[in-house]
Symmetry: C2
Subunit: 141 residues, 2 copies
DNA sequence: CTTGATTTTGAAATTCAATATCAATTATAT
DNA sequence: ATATAATTGATATTGAATTTCAAAATCAAG
């Protein structure tokens, strides 16, 4: 967790931006949360500690955290962007249940390998990817 | 193309909905277009033929076409939902260039196979999936 | 310190795609 | 024909995300 803060500081420095109280506090809260929350979710949690922080700052900070590669946007299909931090979590994809909305995190190294191979075929340099499989989970069928 | 219209009619009938002039016209225009257009793009094209059609109807019809599996939503990362029709196009994924925004359609049967296998591991019944690889295309590097 | 240039902040206003509302119109089965 | 239900388009509304802007905070250089 200290690691993430250092990454953030380095990223900000590189971009000539500053580590402010608000940004630090938002990052700390974010890292402690359950993952996959929306900007509004995070705003509501942050607000409990510091009622003076504004929504806009939370939005802005989440964007920065994505830029610093500490957070990742996830689109679960409702109109809301969710964010997950990478603290202690490897890359993974999602199996999303279209009945109950729950999702499973999953990863297959073989698929990852083939994705890279597919890119090579098109002389395309991959940076990151999203793979979301929608369907019906065990409980719902 | 006649096939798609039949699929649409069958789908509407199944749902106790009606094939109206507007829906028919929107589908026809949609199938003729280049693919990956937003609801607004389609609205602007449809309007040239029939100025009386409303935006809401285009939105609603695109949703129906997705339900009928004639169209597919694509999220290219800007805030706009794009739609592509499946007329003469197999399922594919996208390699999206983060520099120029252009994208490549690509498909790997081996990946598809492994995706199904991955789902089986979680007792998850897949319906459809999105796979988008973001990176830098040949021209941009 | 103090200054000055720059960045950041929060509140509020704004944007924009997408959806909901609603009275008028249209389709379809009987 | 008629009754029932679905559809339409104009408009208003929603809601996430972004922008604006004046005030506050940061930081480097004197």
């Amino acid at each position: 967790m200290a690691k993430e803060i250092q990454i953030f500081i380095d990223y900000l420095k590189k971009k000539n931006l500053k580590l402010t109280d608000q940004r630090g506090r938002i990052l700390n809260v974010f890292l402690k949360t359950q993952r996959h929350l929306s900007a509004e979710d995070l705003y509501n949690i942050v607000r409990k500690n510091d009622a003076s922080i504004g929504q806009a700052t939370v939005f802005r900070t989440l964007k920065l955290l994505c830029g610093a590669d500490i957070a990742k946007e996830v689109d679960l299909g409702d109109g809301k962007t969710r964010y997950e931090h990478k603290c202690g979590h490897e890359h993974h994809d999602h199996l999303i249940c279209t009945r109950c909305g729950r999702f499973i995190e999953a990863m297959d190294p073989e698929i990852e390998r083939l994705q890279k191979k597919l890119c090579r075929r098109f002389a395309f340099t991959p940076q990151y990817h999203k793979m979301e499989i929608f369907g019906v989970c065990k409980k719902c069928r």
